[in-house]
Amino acid sequence: MRRFLDRHWYAYAMVLPVVVVVAVLVLYPLVQGVYFTFTDVNEATIANPVLDRPATYEFTGLRNYLNVLSGDSSYGAFWSTLVRTLIWTFGCVFFHYTIGLGLALLLNRQVRGRSLYRVALVLPWAVPAFISAFAWKYMFNAQYGIVNQVLRAVGLPDPVWLGQSDWALVAVVVVNVWLGVPFMMVALLGGLQSIPGDLYEAAEVDGATPWQRFRDITLPGLRSVSSTVVLLGVIWTFNMFAIVYLVAGPNPNTRILVTYAFERFFSGASRDYAVASTYGVLILSVLLVFASVYRRALREQGEVW
């Protein structure tokens, strides 16, 4: 041990600041949050230096978890919200990926003005999220929005998009897809460009049709990029608070786990920090489970990760 330290003290000294910073910035809040889930902390019981009031919350054991996991609607109907979150997440990621891949394939050819298209397609990314959210909110306006004007013009029904129905979820998915496609497109375009052109030529000589070349060269060639961006996409979308809340507000039909945690935290009669933290920990657990299952699945397919 002595010798080990003697030899490696320099490395440890170099790493130490990072360890300290990570501990303070990441671990401490995390531990604090997890601790809250075992208490009944809320606005009334938390320490408040302004009112010169000490903390009065108490340790309550697993009560928060039991309440939340019971699926009771006064605790956010956890299970149905989870199902909605999964629909939202996989719906968004599916369209992100397929549309992003389609655009990447189009842009990966020699088309005139290719760089112009690229810039245009990355643009949604460059606009601050709340601006595009409000623009979309207006476009989805039941009476004046362009979406319904177009639908009326072609004789289709014009639902109240952002009202109390599942149309609201559809609208939010559309907005999020629009926002998320550029990232997928750029990442997949990079992936496409890293596939050597002579593989396509070899496949062509081997007699592959364009569809077979896509299936047997492009998709396998994109696998490592795809697995990474899909994982990132799932995590981001699962926790995508801003768009859901900015476009639809506190609408129970678009409620996903994070937006409910937010509602619980910042609104309601008493700001229930304990339940909000419980949701946070549950979200983290769901994502961890997903990530490890996903990783295992990839590894079984022989992907080094």
């Binding site: 050597p196 002579d198 593989l199 030529e201 070899a202 496949a203 062509e204 000589v205 081997d206 007699g207 592959a208 049709t209 077979q212 047997d216 060269i217 396998p220 060639g221 696998r223």
Partner: protein, 366 residues
């Protein structure tokens, strides 16, 4: 099995000015023949091969495989197999899948694919590696997989674009022999691109020399070596390169540093027909020799001696007219001259002299 023909085929890349990468190529390859396309970098060898594969458009002329015009047929319909310089193995497939891919696309049943792959693998000594991915193979093994992928298809024509250039020297010599033997055995028409003239000489039934997209000569390796059609081919084929010098011409022969080298009637006739006062005189290093100083010859100052074991190459300067020209002489490896020594060099065999037109570079004795 099929014969192949380029019929005034050209490939012109747009640009300013447009690049005629392959210019009016006329070439007939017989059924079962091993034809090597050789030329310096950028001479259009790959382009010519890719035109045949259908990977490159044909802007003028036509391409025929087995007597059928395939100019506008996509690669899929040409019944060719190609070995790429980079091998282009499918990285996510095992060796067996790589080799069986074309058959799978064609809908051949699994058992038959397996048999054919196993057979080819045995031929190429790849049986052990069938379940590996290309990443886990050495360069030489990958090269064999690329060959295997082509063989399994049993195509009517093999196309190979510098398939050995990524191998080390020893393996290259070995693989060279293997490919030639394999082609012999399968009897499949093969077009082989290389920039290495040793490969060209040793492998091809016939060799076509390209330069700037233009076919210079297409003949057997022997004829190419013995009767190069122009100064370019003469200088390109053979290692070390032929000594090519522009020398004054007299009625008896070519004038080199005081000695007049007698020339053949045909060559002299060709030269006088064009009333030339100078010719490009070519002689291979092995047709020169060092002679005792009492005999007639050119005076050469030795500047460099490369010992190759059996032989040695002597580089030296000879005065021709008012300039000093470099010559290379191949001598016995055991008794090479030393640096700075003055030696006498003479033409050993006047029948090995090549004469070319000083401007056009064309051979003078027809």
């Amino acid at each position: 099995m099929a014969e192949v023909a380029y019929d005034s085929a050209s490939r012109i890349f747009s640009g300013n000015p447009p690049v005629r990468a392959v210019d009016q190529l006329n070439l007939d390859v017989a059924d079962g023949e091993f034809l090597v396309l050789v030329g310096p970098s950028g001479s259009g060898k790959s382009t010519a091969l890719r035109m045949l594969a259908g990977l490159e458009d044909v802007d003028e002329g036509a391409i025929k495989i087995g007597g059928k015009d395939v100019t506008n047929v996509p690669p899929k319909g040409r019944d060719i197999a190609m070995v790429f310089q980079s091998y282009a193995l499918y990285p996510h497939m095992t060796v067996a899948d790589n080799m069986g891919f074309a058959l799978k696309l064609r809908g051949v049943d699994k058992g038959e694919i397996k048999n054919k792959v196993a057979e080819a693998a045995k031929m190429l000594d790849l049986t052990k590696y069938l379940d590996r991915k290309p990443k886990a193979l050495s360069g030489g093994q990958r090269q064999r997989v690329a060959m295997g992928r082509a063989i399994v298809r049993e195509p009517s024509v093999f196309l190979m674009d510098e398939p050995l250039s990524n191998l080390d020297a020893k393996l290259r010599v070995e693989t060279r022999a293997n490919i030639a033997a394999l082609q012999q055995r399968l009897g499949t028409t093969t077009i082989y691109v290389t920039h290495d003239q040793v490969e060209a000489m040793t492998m091809g039934h016939r060799v076509a020399v390209l330069k700037d997209g233009l076919l210079q000569q297409c003949d057997t390796p022997r004829n190419l070596y013995d009767r190069p059609a122009n100064a370019f081919v003469a200088g390109f084929m053979g290692s070390p390169a032929m000594n090519l010098k522009t020398v004054p011409l007299t009625s008896e022969g070519a004038k080199l540093d005081g000695v007049v080298v007698p020339l053949s009637r045909a060559a002299l006739g060709g030269a006088s027909g064009e009333s030339l006062s100078e010719v490009t005189f070519g002689i291979r290093p092995e047709a020169l020799g060092i002679v005792p100083s009492s005999e007639a010859g050119m005076d050469m100052t030795v500047e460099l001696v490369e010992e190759l074991g059996a032989d040695a190459l002597v580089h030296g300067a000879v005065r021709i007219g008012d300039s000093s020209e470099r010559f290379v002489v191949r001598v016995d490896g055991r008794t090479p001259p030393t640096l700075g020594q003055n030696v006498k060099v003479a033409v050993r065999d006047t029948s090995e002299i090549h004469l070319f037109h000083p401007e056009t570079g064309n051979r003078l004795d027809g």
